[in-house]
């Protein structure tokens, strides 16, 4: 009798743990970060890697295609493009970062104030950003630049910075409105926490992640704005070397068909922007993805 039946239950199965451990670099934009680091260090250490003075006008060798001496050729004014690319990158990146900081600070303060203000003021402030957004950004920059006089690196970053905060401040406002009635904020306010204290200690840590992506993208759009403005001749003058002002000689380069003057600085610009974008996308990426039903 005993051998006839067997008690059935859950069959023992060996639990196979998936062995493949995630490598540290998987899913992270390693290549982009590496290239970005390379470009940034190259720009910071530009005096070490370059052999020539980027602003020296070598009138004997102007418009020379890339060769042994001039790795990337020279421009129509006889300047060595290889050195200019690194020196120019320093200024372009600097403008990108400074104007990002300016926009972010304005956006954080404006967004928080708007979210904490009474409904009518909030409404008014948000309408104001909408009106601001409706003036074509480029025109705004042209105006401000004209008002500040001859452009230099700081004034240009300032102008780009104060025209680029609107969309970030909208996101911050939404986030803060969601948070402002949380217990810990009310508690902090009851204990006499000042506006900046609450903003910094309680609100900011909560909206850092949704805003991070926009902040990184802001660096990107600031660099694009700088290069576009300098290219059109209303940003940095030709003597101040940046990736944009290097491209402002493009019209002459087109006439003489000197591709190196257009392609090389532009390639640096695009690669940098691409790395920044990948970084931004990584920050935004949704980790838990659902299985699709289709």
């Amino acid at each position: 009798m005993a051998g006839q039946f067997e008690i059935v239950g859950m069959r023992e199965t060996a639990q196979v743990e998936p062995e493949q451990k995630k490598k540290w670099y998987e899913g992270k934009p390693v290549v982009s970060i590496a290239v970005l680091v390379l470009i940034v260090t190259g720009c910071l250490a530009c005096s070490l890697i370059t052999t020539k003075d980027p602003s020296y006008l070598d009138l004997k060798n102007y418009n020379v295609p890339p060769n042994q001496e001039f790795l990337f050729g020279t421009d129509t004014m006889g300047r060595d493009i290889f050195s200019m690319v690194w020196y120019g990158g320093r200024i372009s990146l600097f403008i990108g970062i400074v104007s990002m900081v300016i926009s972010t600070v304005i956006a954080v303060i404006y967004g928080t104030v708007s979210a904490c203000a009474p409904a009518w003021a909030d409404h008014l402030l948000m309408r104001f950003t909408e009106i601001f957004l409706s003036v074509p950004g480029l025109l705004l920059v042209i105006f401000l630049q004209a008002a500040l006089g001859e452009a230099n690196v700081l004034s240009l970053s300032f102008v780009i910075g104060i025209t680029g905060w609107m969309s970030i401040s909208k996101v911050i406002r939404t986030e803060v409105r969601r948070l402002r009635n949380s217990e810990y904020v009310i508690a902090s306010r009851c204990m006499g926490g000042s506006f900046f204290h609450i903003l910094w200690r309680h609100l900011a840590p909560n909206f850092v992640s949704p805003v991070m992506f926009m902040v990184v993208m802001n660096v990107r759009s600031a660099i694009v704005a700088e290069s576009t403005l300098s290219f059109m001749g209303i940003g940095l003058p030709v003597e101040v070397i940046s990736w944009g002002s290097m491209l402002s000689l493009a019209e002459k380069a087109l006439l003489s068909n000197s591709w190196w003057m257009i392609l090389i600085p532009g390639a640096f610009l695009v690669v940098t922007l691409l790395c920044i974008t990948n970084l931004g996308n990584y920050l935004r990426r949704n980790v838990n993805r659902q299985e699709r039903n289709l």
């Binding site: 409404h123 309408r127 909408e130 009106i131 957004l133 409706s134 003036v135 074509p136 950004g137 480029l138 025109l139 042209i142 105006f143 004209a146 008002a147 006089g149 990107r220 694009v224 290069s227 576009t228 290219f231 059109m232 209303i234 491209l247 493009a250 087109l254 068909n257 591709w259 257009i262 392609l263 532009g266 610009l269 695009v270 922007l273 691409l274 974008t277 990948n278 996308n281 659902q290 299985e291 699709r292 039903n293 289709l294």
Partner: protein, 316 residues
């Protein structure tokens, strides 16, 4: 409804005040755009006479009220540079911009929908990845540089396409010639924006494809293609429409830069010139036009999204 109309009027009014004051406070000599080089050689007396004639000596507020009064009667003044009625100057250029921006807009609209569907269909497979990578790269290329590279390749080296202008001189009415000149700028306008919207469609569709009703439809035995086009696409279309409404000014702004690089005679080059050379009357009208367009498009987008989901109210 009444609130909305009041809001539109108020916004346009505020915009006009802002532009008016900013333009006048910015340094620069509007006489230079009216009289050209002669402005520099004028004696103080002549200068004063000229400024009086153009009404530039009054306080800015007085000037503004006068401008507003005339504007209500349909008179927006004359352009200092072209010495013509502002509306005339704009009318000449408007068609060109509408052609570039309008066709560019619809191409972007259609192509991004197509790309989005294609990516969703092949999610995480080769095609999707390739499109995504190419898209990310193109979205990083500044419009002016893309234009330069295209000019370098197709106009300077291959000599296939013209590098600037809207038509060959003397062939203003030749449609083929105009299209010929439109190809390069149009490519830049479309490529510059395409990816952003395609990515949006892709995201929305990927979300949609994970909805429960899709599973049900599959269980009922409805084909994939029909689910995708009959149900998923239809569901995202309204929100996509509202995004496109918001994007009108975005694309318009894109055409401005492209117009400048290609020296295409449109509103973009005109705005740039008028801001640069203090052509106040022209600048005002151009800013108001683009500003109103932005405001109206935002309203349209809101209206669409409220129609889709009556729960959304934009007062919050």
């Amino acid at each position: 409804m009444r609130h909305k109309i009041i809001y539109v009027i108020l916004s346009i009014f505020l915009l006009s005040v802002m532009v008016f004051y900013m333009a006048r406070l910015a340094p620069g000599d509007p006489l230079a755009s009216y009289y050209g080089d002669r402005a520099e050689k004028m004696s103080p007396k002549e200068r004063k006479w000229a400024e009086d004639k153009l009404g530039l000596n009054d306080p800015v507020t007085v000037q503004y009220v006068r401008w507003l009064d005339r504007a209500f009667h349909g008179d927006f003044g004359i352009s200092y540079k072209y010495k013509m009625d502002v509306m005339e100057v704009i009318r000449e250029r408007m068609g060109n911009t509408l052609l570039l921006g309008g066709i560019g807009f619809f191409l972007t609209f259609g192509l991004s929908l197509l790309l989005g569907v294609l990516c969703t269909w092949h999610e995480d497979r080769m095609l999707d990845r390739v499109i995504c990578k190419v898209g990310t790269v193109t979205s990083c290329i500044p419009e002016f540089w893309l234009s330069l590279v295209l000019i370098l390749i197709f106009a300077v080296n291959l000599k296939w396409l013209p590098s600037s202008g809207a038509y060959t001189i003397g062939k203003e009415d030749d449609t083929a010639d105009r299209i010929w000149h439109l190809i390069l700028p149009m490519t830049v306008v479309v490529l510059g924006h395409l990816w952003y919207y395609a990515y949006m469609v892709r995201n929305k569709l990927l979300e949609e494809v994970r909805a429960d009703y899709v599973l049900l439809a599959r269980v009922k035995g409805i084909g994939k293609r029909s689910i995708m086009f009959r149900h998923c696409l239809r569901n995202i279309l309204p929100s996509y429409l509202s995004i496109m409404a918001v994007s009108v000014p975005h694309i318009l702004g894109g055409t401005y830069i492209v117009e400048m690089v290609f020296s295409y005679p449109g509103l973009g080059t005109l705005s740039y010139e008028s801001a640069r050379y203090q052509d106040y009357n022209l600048l005002m009208v151009l800013c108001l036009m683009s500003g109103s367009l932005v405001i109206l498009c935002n309203m349209a987008a809101q209206a669409i999204s409220e129609k889709i989901d009556p729960g959304i109210t934009h007062t919050e």
